[in-house]
Amino acid sequence: MNASARPDSLDVSLDRVAAGDPLDGVLAALAAEHREHQALVAAAAAVRSLPTPLDAAFRARLRGELVHHVDADRPRVRAISLAWRAVALALALAFVGTGGLVVASANSRPGEPLYGLQQGLADAWHSLGRWLTPASAPTAHPVPSAPPRRAGAQPTAHPTPELAARPPEDEPARAANAAAAIDRPRAARAGLAHTPVPRRTGARATSAAVAGGPAAAGVGAGVGANLGSQTATVPSPTQPSAGEGDDSGPRAMQTTPPSPGTETGTPTPEPATPTPTPPTAAPTSSATATSSPAPSDTPTATPTLVCPAGGITGRVTLPGGGPAAGADVLLLGEAGSQRELRTGPDGLFAACGAAPGRYVAMALLGQAPPDFLAGIYDANADGDPDEIGVPDTTTLITGVDITLAPVMAGPPACTTGSATLSGRVTLPGDVPAAGADVMVFSPADGLGIGEQTGADGSYSLQGLCAGTYFAYAFLDDGTRPWFGLYDPNDDGWEDPIQVEDAAGTLDGIDIRLR
């Protein structure tokens, strides 16, 4: 083949390899006559797949040393910074009258490039906070004492006891469990028990007592053998099932192991090693840290979920205080991971096997206003999401309770607009993204308008009012989810779209999926 006639398809394919696309899909997209291109693409993918495991001890040691070094170096850094600023000021003064003041302004944060954008995003965030905050007073949050804001693990954290011995899960049960589970293709699954425990006054629920009993053994089997790859379900001896859409069968709850390690290749740690004999007492003072489920006839009994090892559990409630069944719960990890869960009929959810790290949680229910409810985990009710700290893989965080509130309690401010936004959504290599969901979002009133792109990746959203919007696109093509935002300056942040003419058309709102 003549190299000078090299088609763009090779560049596109290599871009897709570099973007992490599955090799099969990239090869399939290459024309059959370009077999040598296929070989080059496969060679590139071979490099991509080379493992480079990073020794955990080295990583932790170096981190500690660096943090210590930076902290210890703080005064010197400040001195350097002051010196640099003095030099900048001197330069600025020297150039006064010749445009040199730019130097000084560039040295102050508000004058920096993108500062305005940063502020805009901050404003957007606060608008979003309002968006998720009901116009009326929210239902009292069932949190007896509001923990300090962003002070690490605000919910109750319980080190979990060693697990009981785990008999292997039988295949028929596994098949039944798989059938009962919510079908989410990329979701790896783990099991959990559904155990009623008494809620003590002034204390948050509960513990990770899974030692002993058939339920505990079943949980242990499911998770120990199948964490990250299977669903394990556990018959609840004392509670009706909370399996979605099925109140008679065993409880099936899925969790999606977070993926902070996808970029680094770090696997999710396994739960605690099973011990040959069940412990007789859990190392926690919780009332439920016993070898059997707590009695269900306790007047204050509140059902809760228990993970066999570490994880995050909580409850989603409706504005009136009742359980929010079938609500979608999102756990967003600091490394960009995202876990989706769904509450059972009792509003409970559990993310077993959550990797150590910090999370924020939100819940959504309903399709559209006025039935569209949303809420965030905001224990101190300041309007911002509060962090959930998971220190290790064996600690169970409970009490991540979320109260839903109507989104857009009143009518949107904009009801009469006729402006149009249009553009094109593309995959890497300028490939049209057909069937992508596009949404423009107005932080002013929480209005979101969406539609799907056509075969050529184009879209046209009509009926907007004058104002500021942000545009996003999402596509799940079966191989991976793609996400993109309107970011013409390509800085990784969404850029505002100003609609000034309420009857006009704004074209060129193009979004590149990544």
């Binding site: 090799l23 070989a39 496969a42 490099v47 080379l50 480079t52 070094h69 930076v70 996003y472 990784g492």
Partner: protein, 211 residues
């Protein structure tokens, strides 16, 4: 209410999630962390380290054949990058700058260890590079069961420049523009270089497989 306010569930979840995740105080962006680290905030630098240590180590590990040396240089890179934070000017990304630090450290290592840095073996902008010898080993690469050691070996037999562009592009999964930024080259140069490097890499893999 207008019927256009419907947000389909398929888009609602990830979008709202991303909105929260992007702006959440739980996840400060790189720029904020850089600012704080520059002011001597060890925790902020620790977060930057958490985000990029695997990237830096991967780059060095794929460029070197010695894991211990890659660890040592990783440490040097983060120390050096911290010292250089005062000179860092935000241009939208932090990772390419950090990998540029790694690149510089590696070049220094080669110099001090006496190894010749063959980074001028290929011209910059003299047109597209040849892809491969005509008609040979076209079946290669479609065999996806390549042995890891064979791939490592083939990578090790490339010139430093070829190895670097391949590692950055497909080991670290940088874009062409980011690769050019790290290598200090132009976009056409990187594009040509990557094709020539891939062709050479493929030949090495073939020889390895044949041997």
């Amino acid at each position: 209410l207008r019927d256009t306010t419907i947000i389909r569930p398929a888009i609602r979840l990830p979008l709202v999630g991303r909105l929260l995740g992007r702006a959440s105080p739980a996840r400060p962006d790189d720029r904020e962390l850089v600012e704080r680290a520059r002011d001597g905030d060890g925790a902020a630098f620790g977060q930057l380290y958490d985000r990029y240590v695997a990237d830096v180590f991967r780059y060095l590990r794929l460029r070197l054949d010695d894991a211990q040396l890659a660890e040592d240089l990783t440490q040097d890179v983060f120390l050096a990058s911290y010292r250089a934070l005062g000179e860092f000017r935000w241009q939208g990304h932090f990772r390419p700058w950090l990998l540029r630090c790694a690149h510089n450290r590696l070049v220094n290592h080669y110099r001090t260890s006496g190894r010749r840095v063959a980074e001028a073996e290929l011209p910059d902008d003299d047109g597209p590079a040849p892809l491969a010898s005509e008609g040979q080993d076209l079946e290669l690469g479609l065999d996806l069961s390549l042995d890891i050691e064979a791939v490592r070996g083939a990578l090790a037999r490339l010139t430093p420049l070829q190895r670097e562009v391949i590692v950055l592009r497909f080991g670290n999964e940088l874009s062409v523009a980011e690769t050019a930024e790290v290598m200090g080259r132009t976009l056409p140069s990187v594009k040509n270089l990557q094709l020539a490097a891939l062709a050479a890499f493929r030949r090495q893999l073939t020889q390895d497989g044949a041997g």
